[in-house]
Amino acid sequence: MSGGVDSSAVAAMLRAEGHNLIGLTMQLWNQRRLAGHEGMPESVQGRCCSLDDVYDARRVAEHLGIPYYVVNHEERFERDVVRPFVAEYLSGRTPIPCSLCNNHLKFDQLLVVAQQIGADCVATGHYARLEYADAVGRWLLRRPADRGKDQTYFLFGLTQEQLSRTLFPLGGMTKPEVRELARKQGLALAEKPDSQEICFVPGGDYKRFIDAYLAESGGALPDTAGELVTANGEVIGEHGGVHNFTVGQRKGLGVATGSPLYVIRLNGAENQVVVGGDELLYSTTLRARRVNLISVDDLREPMRVSVKIRHRHEAAPAIVEKVATDEILVTFDQPQRAITPGQAAVFYDDDIVVGGGWIV
């Protein structure tokens, strides 16, 4: 229970159905920790893991008359989500902390806690659908009724074991229906705005977060400043650090040319930012590693799917094939713009999540 509308509505819904519930909030990050560091806001009210959200979640649990606990997983969150997030940016990749959090915290640590305290399943407010396919003997993850809220992209890493102990009660509902349910159940937070940004990065400014985090942990920002080069290797300028850039970025390059320039690629090893025209951003293939498969147990032969390469990307038709033990080659029918290392490639068969991997 994050203290938001979705998880609160899940609690209210399951309670109304007569389930025996225990409310849990994961304390993952101390929002006050970096407050006051240069560039970080002093006040962090109304954010995930803030006392305000814990307060809201607790009020919902009280309202529903269910036991409620806050479980502290700050150490694991820092180790498995925050540090990799910082390290990825510094090596020229663009990470997705939400997927790491799902894999390592919400559907790992939280499932452990659930089992320890005698709960059969964990129900969350994610927008996704789950069903068991008898024919193949596997749990299937499907896109939700509300396509605009689809969170399956962040859930591709879940194992069969994790899925078997998970409930996504909101999968068949739209967001307006969820709000309506919250209102009907008398939840005071029915109108609370959706959270949009990365929960531990105030104001969405990840660059300032990285600076403040490194300063706080006693390390200086590693010098990732370097050259701005064209695809032909011609040096056309300098930049202040690769972590300030992401593939497809146009603003903030610091060079003026006749035609618009974009970041084509980040060359982490040499601290190079490769820039060029829009046409250079398109590519037909990508490779993904650390692959997790959901609807099938293996990719024995090439499979026709559609592939999402970032959360806000229309899944594009492609062929996926296994090219090594843990490497998948994705070949799109049409070139895709700004394929970004560090992001996930998630494979869909219609609305079923086949699996996914991390773009290298």
């Binding site: 025996n20 225990i22 304390q27 006392l51 814990v54 607790r58 036991p67 606990y69 806050v70 479980v71 502290n72 452990v112 806690v113 089992q115 320890q116 305290i117 005698g118 709960a119």
Partner: protein
């Protein structure tokens, strides 16, 4: 998960239920006797008399003069008032690494504003070495603040010796006696302290009231500015019902010591502790080798998470805790247990059980059934424990 049939409360170091006699004593001051104790008229005189009677009771209990008792809102205020009120800019303060946050965070604040701090360590038994306190003394030392009993382990600190050291060095000595109050007799003369803070709700008086003993003639900078209440040491209209409750609780504590109640309490605690040690392997008592208050036991059960233990037990109706409660309800690793040199996993595998006057032998026996079965279930789920079991 069956519904809880009966709730047993073994978290009396967090707070205690108000005793019926205390509630009875307070009741008239919510209605009939409502006056402001500073008012001139009859209504004020009634409540003033009640406040002063309570002050007499607290003074008799602590072995001090009534004028040396300052009523506060509780332990945190008493600790803050003493620590911040007795030092000036740039002074040196000696405290310990196992103090309650009410002292530690107050010290931290003073450190940020120019004071210098020395944190003396504790040994494996959870005890401060008075020699360390002596060695930490500097010409500019103004205050020593060392707790009387630790809230997590119940270990009693050598405050009498520290009091002597402070007196010889002519340094103020404050002791946070919140977790000792009502559990062991407290004598401010014997301790030789200049300030001692207590909290009502840890000794069966209500939440929101406490007292600070302040030795006569000790100059104290107040925290609050306002009227001349409490001899200008604590502005604000007196919490009359709370103060009356605290006075009653002090009387009951004294009477309890005369009857030897603390021996009964330690017998119950020992029954719990020994029972658990007999039934559960790979477990131990934190601070067992030190002198302890009679109601507290802190126990580690290897290969479990204290957090899961506390939630599981609560779902079965047994209230215990992992350590100090925090405002968000989140559970943070214990600074006390780690300061004693406990491994991080053991600190996390520790729970605290603390008894109150209301607990019965029957309740202890129920706890003796619930805790081992919960530990066994949690260990079944622990991959580390399973591996060990296979190996041995």
């Amino acid at each position: 998960m069956e519904p809880v049939m009966r709730r047993i409360y073994l978290d009396n170091n967090a707070t205690t239920p108000v005793l019926p006699e205390v509630l009875e004593a307070m009741r008239p001051f919510f209605g009939e006797h409502f006056g402001n104790a500073s008012s001139i008229h009859h209504h004020g005189q009634e409540t003033r008399a009640a406040v002063e009677r309570a002050r007499d009771s607290v003074a008799a209990w602590l072995n001090c003069r009534p004028a040396e008792v300052v009523f506060t809102s509780g332990g945190t205020e008493g600790d803050n008032l003493a620590v911040a009120g007795l030092v000036g800019a740039g002074d040196h303060i000696i405290t310990s690494s196992i103090e309650h946050h009410a002292v530690l965070h107050a010290c931290k604040h003073l450190e940020e504003t120019g004071c210098e701090l020395t944190y003396v360590p504790v040994d494996g038994r959870g005890l401060v070495d008075p020699g360390d306190v002596r060695r930490a003394l500097r010409p500019d030392t103004k205050l020593i603040s060392i707790m009387l009993a630790n809230n997590e382990t119940g270990v009693l600190q050598p405050v009498d010796e520290i009091g002597k050291i402070a007196a010889e060095a002519d340094v103020y000595f404050h002791t946070d006696a919140v977790q000792a109050a009502g559990k062991v007799p407290i004598d401010v003369k014997r301790i030789g302290c200049d300030a001692l803070s207590i909290s009502g709700h840890k000794m069966h008086a209500p939440q929101g009231v406490g007292a600070l003993y302040l030795r006569r003639g000790t100059h104290l900078q107040p925290l609050f500015y306002g009227g001349r209440h409490e001899r200008s040491r604590r502005a604000g209209t007196e919490n009359v019902p709370g103060i009356v409750g605290l006075g009653k609780a002090a009387e009951l504590a004294m009477r309890g010591f005369e009857r030897g109640d603390e021996k009964k309490m330690s017998a119950l605690r020992d029954r719990l502790e020994r029972g658990l040690m007999a039934q559960v392997d790979d477990a131990g008592v934190n601070g067992e080798a030190g002198p302890r208050v009679p109601n507290t036991t802190s126990i580690y059960f290897d290969h479990i998470e204290g957090e899961a233990m506390v939630i599981s037990l609560d779902l079965k109706g047994l209230a215990v805790s992992t350590g100090a409660a925090c405002s968000s309800g989140a559970i943070e690793p214990s600074h006390v247990l780690t300061a004693m040199g406990l491994r991080a996993d053991r600190a996390r595998a520790s729970i605290r059980l603390s008894l109150g006057k209301q607990n019965t032998a029957e309740e202890i026996d129920i706890a003796l059934a619930l805790v081992p079965e919960t530990v066994a279930r949690l260990r079944e789920l622990s991959p580390v424990y399973k591996k060990q079991a296979v190996r041995s």
